[in-house]
Subunit: 468 residues, 2 copies
């Protein structure tokens, strides 16, 4: 970004003027200190001497002389036509020195994001513009902890239509991503006396960290090819499930087990938290509807826009049963008062105009193809290891055989070759004795880079698992 100010008289400046000296000396000392300590960075434009003099109640001559003195000392410099600015002396802190340069990755199979090059920038910007042009002034004021009414209404319709969720706008709470939704739920459960929460094993380690931060203890629910195995210990206040597409193994919770979990929740009073992970992406048949539809009084439904559009948007939602809604709203209020308004209005517009449906329809066949190509690549390179899970989502997992290279061997080699991979181990509650493997995000690379990424993965797997 450009450092120059288009209008130098609009620059605000705070300076500590030492007392008990001449005015010119005071100005010089204040500016010198501000530059030395880095408060005024190199390239920072100063107000004109006239504005500076007005601001601080000095004569203009005093300021002109002080600027001249500091210019002579090398603290300031004058540029023709653009006024006076802080000079770029070595040792003086300069801007941008802490910017991180992204490491070059030759093949990016990171987990948990869509192909970001498919983000519909111009359509999203148009939605933002419409949100701004139609929002009343009051929409810029204090936020509702539940989120904007218009987005809650649109989402209640959308989730009913697309995911079979039974939602009323008043049961919807907008959060900054599903992660915050989970945090707010954990806070609400904890405030209501809950002590323990059950997560699938394996599950996302970030989710366990969130529950721990909210003061909850964690128990594990084992997962097999049919999804989580229904069981529930007495003191569990909530069970977090990913029924549509298990994160990270990719299996789908069977209809029988769905009913079992609902029965357990009804009996025990525990709440099921349905993380509808990748619910929108099913490739071999119609997606299975949300578990929430079976028992809306016992299930909290949670989702987000992260995999449909972009994780950077931080927009998610909960559909909350009546018994829990007040606690969740209060937890959201004391978390951050409420989520930012304009992007909520933009999302409401984006859904209402059909743009979200179109976006998903556009990328779904691409992801479907990518998954098939990934499966073929793995099979060709290592016929003995297989990809787990359903034809769904944006990732696929592979488990390594007991005898052979370990997960850390594979990750080390991948790292040497700048291939970004995620190991399976960290997802287990306790990785000791559990199978290692990889969780492959096949949506991450841009379309043009996918074939090459697969080729590098193929070579890696061939090198790691040589055919015997």
């Amino acid at each position: 970004m450009d450092r120059s100010w288009t209008n130098s008289s609009g620059v605000d400046l705070y300076l500590e003027m030492p007392s008990g000296r001449g005015r010119r000396a005071a100005v010089e000392t204040a500016l010198r200190n501000a530059i030395r300590t880095g408060r005024l960075a190199a390239g920072q434009r100063l107000p004109s001497s006239r504005v500076f003099a007005d601001e601080f109640g000095l004569s203009r001559g005093t300021v002109v002389e002080a600027y001249a003195q500091l210019t002579a000392e090398g603290y300031l410099r004058t540029r023709a036509g653009s006024g006076t600015e802080v000079a770029g002396t070595s040792g003086i802190r300069t801007r941008g020195s802490t910017e991180h340069v992204a490491e070059a990755v030759s093949a990016d199979f990171r987990f948990g994001q869509p192909d970001l090059s498919e983000f519909p920038r111009s359509l999203w910007l148009r939605a933002l513009r419409r949100a701004f042009s139609t929002a009343p002034t009051a929409a810029l004021g204090p936020v509702d902890p539940r989120g904007c009414a218009v987005l809650r209404t649109v989402l209640a319709d959308y989730l009913g239509r697309v995911r079979g969720v039974l939602a009323d706008p008043n049961s919807v709470v907008i959060c900054s991503g599903f992660s915050q939704g989970l945090r707010v739920l954990c806070d609400a459960l904890s405030a209501a006396g809950g002590r323990c929460i059950a997560f699938e094993d394996p599950c996302l380690p970030e989710h366990r960290a969130i529950a721990r931060a909210a003061g909850l203890e964690i128990t594990a629910i084992p997962v097999d090819d049919d999804g989580a195995i229904p069981e529930l210990s007495r003191d569990v206040a909530a069970i977090v499930l990913t029924p549509a597409h298990h994160a990270p193994l990719g299996c789908t919770l069977t209809a029988h087990r769905r009913r079992e979990f609902v029965r357990l929740a009804r009996e025990s009073g525990a709440i099921v938290i349905e993380d509808d992970y990748n619910g929108e992406f099913r490739y071999d048949r119609q997606p299975i509807g949300a578990l929430q539809g079976l028992a809306p009084d016992h299930v909290v439904y949670g989702g987000s826009i992260s995999k449909m559009l972009a994780p950077a948007l931080r927009l998610g939602w909960l559909v909350v049963p009546p018994t829990l809604i007040d606690g969740v709203i209060e937890a959201k209020r004391t978390a951050d008062r409420g989520t930012s308004t304009i992007e909520q209005l933009a999302l409401a517009d984006f859904i209402e105009t059909g743009n979200l449906d179109r976006q998903i329809r556009r990328v779904r066949p691409r992801y479907r193809r990518r998954r098939l190509e990934l499966l073929a690549t793995v099979t060709a390179a290592a016929p003995d290891i297989s990809v787990t899970g359903a034809a769904a989502g944006l990732h696929a997992a592979i488990k390594f055989p007991d005898h052979g290279p370990t997960e850390s061997d594979v990750l080390a080699l991948a790292s040497d070759r700048s291939i970004a991979l995620t190991g399976l181990n960290q997802f287990w509650h306790n990785g000791n004795g559990k199978p290692g493997g990889l969780v492959l995000g096949f949506a991450t690379p841009a379309q043009h880079a996918y074939a090459n990424a697969l080729s590098l993965l193929h070579t890696l797997l061939c090198d790691v698992f040589p055919s015997t």
Copy 2:
């Protein structure tokens, strides 16, 4: 917003098809159930029969017949040129029924917001557009819990220049408003074994609720005309101060007391949390610099864009000492992973292009004038009650005399007349025996409505405090 879909073939639909019946009956039952339970709302457009048939693997004739049957039953209706949609039967849930209609307010002195009609919509939209057009694809990916590097860099410069804050980009953490910053700090203190936090008495009740939600106990620091009175009990992990312009009384913490608080913090190891409330708005002289500049290793500086631009943006920041930074980043990560990216990039642009400075320069003289007019109004109506606090900020407080009408009398009368006022009582830690009064947000009304609002306030005060 418009309900119609611009492209009906882009509509996603989830339906539960019952098994064990004829196909047409299954489609009809599934649609009927979805409409009855409200999952498909009145006005919802359905896919064309061709698309529906493709989706669910049915013949088109089956779908046409099912649509016809449900139309005959009144569940669906056909509109020429716009396909089939869910009919607006009474008893079927319709959209928008839960939208809240804002109550009409004749004079709005609500506390804690700027004049929202001054929000620079087109400039902000331009900043959003630039953020989108220059952001690399990776900027749409997973967020950094500290916030975007570019905004942290710009803010470190800005806060140094305008508020005398000593900040390095790596010491800045972007939050969703100052409220979330306070919550994240409380979580970090709590995780580090902190048990107790001190707030000024009076202070914002929302801030006490946030600390309580993080599991901290609260103690009170009395406030007089010189600001908070320096004192510190042993077990206090942090002291929250509003040195620039006390919320709600409006006084400014004196230089002597600033040094005293810093000394107490140094001695005890407690952290000062500086809520730089209204730090940008000083009317009678140069603003006093941030307390943080005196002792950056013992003070967390916190601020937000809420009063400078709009509370709906939910953008705030902390400048955190090295001893606390890792704990704060971890607390932010488990709160919501990080703040939404695009609005951060827009704010960085908005500051760098000088637009924020210009905005504040533009509104500052207006708010200054409004404050003087408010003082004159109160004095004219009730010479015995006086407005507390410095010529600063966006609010002024008045305390009622011991004998005379109570705060609840005044609020009740104001409510009858649709005058939005905030009582002082709720700000005290324990309101019993504390003076009642009003906290008057003089920035809230639009410019054209301010004179009338003052006139209504004048009449109210004259009626409540009749001259004797």
